[in-house]
Structure formats: C-alpha cells, structure tokens
C-alpha cells in the first residue's frame, strides 16, 4: 500500500506534497511575492523551491512575473485564478476529511 493509494482520488496530489502545499498557502494569502520571500517563509532551499515552482507553473497554478526594478531583473510569483481555485478546493476537501474523522 503506497501513500498514493491512501490519498482519496479527488485530492489534488500536486498540491498535497508538503513543500508545494506550503508554497501554495503562502502565495494564496498575498497578491505576489518573490523567491526570497518564499524561501524565508517556507524554509525551503532555492533548488527545492525552483523545482516545485516548475511543477506548479506547468500545472497552471502559478505564474512567473518578470520585470525590471532599478534596472535589475525582478521575478515575482503569483497564484493564477486556476491556482487559487485549486487550492481552495483542496483546502475544503482536506478540512471536510479532517472534520469527518470521528473523535
């Protein structure tokens, strides 16, 4: 019995991974943030963050906003509309599951 078999099929496994869950949660409560902010808040390393960010971006959950500030490149991350919806649904499902556990 693998961990994947235990998780109900309707739970978004992409978000369910602990590091990605932390990233999604931190991005959900703000409009946008950069890598440094996410590193500080989540405690993840740069490499870890980068790899999880790619997966979330592939899934269309986050968007990478590149711009210039004082002539320096600036990269911000934000949840897309799909990302916010997916996170909200995940949260509701998890809360529902946890609430249904008998005492």
């Amino acid at each position: 019995m693998t961990a994947d078999n235990v998780i109900p099929p309707e739970i978004d496994k992409l978000i369910h991974e602990p590091a990605r869950l932390l990233m999604m949660a931190h991005l959900y409560v703000v409009e946008k943030a950069d890598f440094t902010y996410l590193m500080r808040q989540t405690g993840l390393t740069w490499g870890n963050l980068s790899s999880h960010m790619s997966k979330l971006e592939e899934a269309g959950y986050i968007e990478v906003i590149k711009s210039f500030q004082d002539k320096r490149p600036n990269t911000m991350l934000a949840l897309t509309k799909n990302g916010r919806t997916a996170f909200n649904e995940y949260r509701q499902q998890m809360l529902g599951m946890l609430n249904s556990i008998p005492d």
Partner: protein, 200 residues
C-alpha cells in the same frame, strides 16, 4: 500541518515578520528625537528658525532611513511581497486617521486662539493631549498590525503630558532613547541573524 489551513494566521505571521528588522522602531524613536531637537533649539538659541530646521531635518532623515533601510537592508533579506487589498486599505486608514487628528488639533487651536480664557486648565490640556496622542498612535498600531507600537503609543502620550506638566523637554530625549535603544538592538540582531539571500 495546521499552518496551510489557518490562512489568517499564516498571513499575519508573514506580515508581522517584516517588523523583525527594527526599522520602524528606529523611525518612531527618531520622530521623538525630532521633538527633543525642536525644544532644545527653541530653549538655547535666539534664532527660532533653527528649531524648525532641526525638527524638519530629523523628520526627513527618519523618512529617508525608513524608506531606504527597508529597500536596501530588509528586502534583500526578507524578500519582496505585495500583500492583499485589506493591508493596502489599512494604509489609507492610517492616512485618514492622521488627517482627522490634524483637523481636530487645528480646530482646538483655532478655538483656543479665539477664546484664550476658555479651557484654561493646563493639567487637563496636558493630559488630554497625551491621551489623544496615545489614541492616534494606537490606531496606527492597529492598522499597521505592529504590536510594539502600542507600547510606543503609551510612551509618546506619557512623554507629551509629562513635558507639558513638568516643563522638562529632556523627557523627549529620554523617550527617544527608550525607543531607539531596543529598536537598535532589534536592528543589529536582524542584521547578524538574517543574511541576504543570493539568487542561485
């Protein structure tokens, strides 16, 4: 595991983490120092323009410190973030609170000028001013979600009352140091424990 589900707490913790740099503490300490500078130059120099220059100079220096320390010291260490609309609305509320305060004080001043003998109780005026300053600063603390500012609000209010009642402007300096010293400790601790993050 609870953190990602208690979103309000998560956001609040993240927002409040930006006060761990001590920069706002130093700013409020400098504003109090500006008051001391005003009274010092007023009492010790005949040229009254100097007191205005001292006040404005220190206040402008405090603003520059706040803006540039946040940009050059805090942002490389804690990152950049745009918090939600509710936090931005709070900034507007702070502006409106300060505007209302200025209007009330101006109205009081105008009334007192027109009726010099009215509200002539120095003790009452001193205490009222102290309470008003504490109240306005506490409202700012609420909207800034900056808990240490509630303590500074009490220090500000008590200092203004004490200076007016006792006639001891040195109390402004004492209050400034009471805020600047812990603020400085927080700032230097932040510099030593939170290093800038370099992009890999």
């Amino acid at each position: 595991m609870n953190a990602p589900f208690n979103l309000k707490e998560l956001e609040q913790k993240a927002f409040r983490s930006f006060y761990q740099d001590g920069i706002w503490d130093i700013f409020f300490g400098l504003m109090m120092l500006a008051m001391y500078a005003f009274t010092f130059f007023n009492d010790n120099f005949e040229n009254k323009a100097l007191r205005i220059l001292a006040l404005v100079f220190i206040e402008i220096a405090a603003m520059f410190f706040l803006i540039y320390a946040k940009k050059l010291i805090t942002t490389p260490r804690l990152g950049q973030v745009v918090f939600g609309e509710k936090r931005r609305k709070n900034l507007l509320n702070i502006f409106l609170t300060n505007l209302a305060s200025v209007i009330v004080l101006a109205a009081w001043f105008a009334y007192k000028t027109a009726h010099p003998s009215a509200l002539d109780n120095d003790t009452l005026i001193s205490i009222s001013l102290g309470v008003w300053i504490t109240f306005i600063t506490s409202v700012m603390a609420y909207f800034l979600d900056f808990n240490r500012l509630y303590i500074y609000a009490l220090i500000y209010g008590a200092t203004f009352t004490a200076v007016l009642l006792l006639g001891l402007p040195i109390l402004f300096l004492a209050a400034a140091l009471l805020i600047l010293i812990p603020g400085g400790v927080i700032f230097f601790r932040f510099l030593s424990t939170t290093k800038p993050i370099r992009e890999e």
